[in-house]
Amino acid sequence: MLSIQHISKQFGPVKALNDVSFEVPNGQILGLIGQNGAGKSTTFHSILNFIKYDGTIQWQGHPLSPADFDTIGYLPEERSLMTKLTIEQQIIYLARLKDQSARDIRPRIDDWLGRFAVKGTRKSRINDLSKGNQQKVQLICTLIHHPKLLILDEPFSGLDPVNADLLKQAILKARDDGAAIIFSSHDMENVSALCDQLVMLRKGDMVLHGTLGEVRNQFGKTELYVTTDWSATRLATLPSVDRVDQRQPGQYRLHLTDPAAGPAIFAELTQGHYIEEFSQQPPTLDEIFRLKVSEDHA
């Protein structure tokens, strides 16, 4: 388990992290969200001991030390490989630094290249690969030694939906193998699809923490999804309806000021008749993210 307790970090006058605490048990995925500059990469750098910080970070019950390096898989935010090497040389070099033998890694390379649908052979030079394929090679370097602690900084950035799915499968596979996984992302859909729990940082402060359900339910069931022949203007007259957004013709999302108004709205809208859609839900992660960001701007 990765345990982060009360970590703070100051860069000159800027507070990058302020008393951040969370835990990532083995076999679980934690999503770290926040705007640019919120402190996500600083959190990762603190875990990896790249920077000094106040507070405690422990991995499997002890502070992270060089002895744990071989169990870590780290994907930095920007991609960077040794461009003059071939794919095979690059993977083997980084795997050997994770105490893997070339003899063990070499037979696995083709399988991994196939799994991530890399356009190129093991003898292709990194320099000759497209940006997307370089990113996939870097992902392979991060995963091929079966790490027990996976730290992925913006792993989905630059990947098309097909490749993003391939990455999701790889992350889920690592989770099933017992790895503790922490990743950052701006794509709330990916976070919702993958995470067992999430943490949102805002200017170094932890403003949200919990499972996806816990976080969403903190905001109450304020979103009402309906399919009806009522107009938006008429829907806005319903009790406690603060805002009406049209999703598709005949499909609306109503934002409620009071979640308890749900039954009354249902009664008025249906008049005891069949209605195709009436679903009262908490806000989506994307909406929560925007809400939390806007709170800071208010």
Partner: protein
Amino acid sequence: MHKTWIVTLETYLRQIKSWSFLFMVIGPFLMIGLTVGISYLSANSASSSKQVAVISTSQPLRQAYLKQQTGTLNTKITTVAAAKSAVKKNHLAGYLELRTSAHQIRADYHGSSTMASGLKAQTQNFLQQYQQAQNYRQAKLTTQQQRLLARTPVLQQHIEKKAGTANLAKTISFWILVTMIYIILITYASIAAQEIASDKGTKIMEIIFSSTTATSYFVGKIGGILLVILTQIVIYLLGGWAGFQIAWHSAALKPLLTENQSLITAVLHNLLNLNLVYLFLGVIIYTILAAYSGAVVAKAEDASKAAQPVVMLGMFGFFATFPFQNNLDALFVKILSYVPFFSSYFMPMRIINGTVNGWEQLLSLLILVVAIALFASYIGSQYQRLMLQTDSRSFWQHLIHGWRRQN
């Protein structure tokens, strides 16, 4: 240690597989080969046009001249007309016309330029001897009289050959050693700085530092570069040995080598001792400094700038030795022979000249080794921070910032 070796091997293989290394190593061999080849071709093509023909109506006189002279004479041309024609076609440098008139020998040289000084001296010597022999015969002198007239004063120089050779050996050894340190330093300072600076601020460093410690990685990098240096030295030593073997079996060069056998042995003796350790340790400390400079630059493109302070320091050490070659008892020399970065130049100089005892050599060496260890340890502790920072501070700001953080 295992991971350090992986980094060392990767650095080493990448460097020696590069075209720049290949050109750097074979460059001097190519230069020597080209120089020898061009000299040979030039000597061959010019040989006929440098020759001088000897023409004479007196065959005994001509034969006597040809017997004494060697090398640049053309023996085939025997007439003035043929010689004139050959000079005109630039096949001959000129021709010498020998004749006797009223018991006086006369030589006339005809050519497009003056007679070569060596040939001129030899010709004058021949003419004098031949004329003297003619004169004696003409004067009908007895053998006793001839001997008396031939008596000349004697001037002879007595040089202690051993001391002369030793001094020359010292000078040659000194120059070989300081030049070797200087060339290796100049070449590898920028390679080391570039090697480190090219990683600066890249995310690959984050991946590497999540796999091994910064110190281990730094030592691995330095190890890789030192292995490259060692490879180049070994190739040059092998090349030098091969060249020596070729020269030894060459009819033209063997006499020269045999004549200078004691000098060669003395130079090798001066080089293949503690001085070689100083050479290697000197290269190590300068390489570490260059690597540090590479880590301090703001971005990879500034690597060439990074090597400059190291090169300047090396140049200072190199040129500072010049005025003190014949004044090794100067306090300045004694002090600098203990100061790291300079001791690699100054202590070998004192060792070659035999003006320093074993304890002093050991002390200087100890200071150098300790300085290398402390320096490497300090940089190792700073390396991760330096390599991961990506701000836009200048080289000097980084340097000062680094020291402030340390103190």
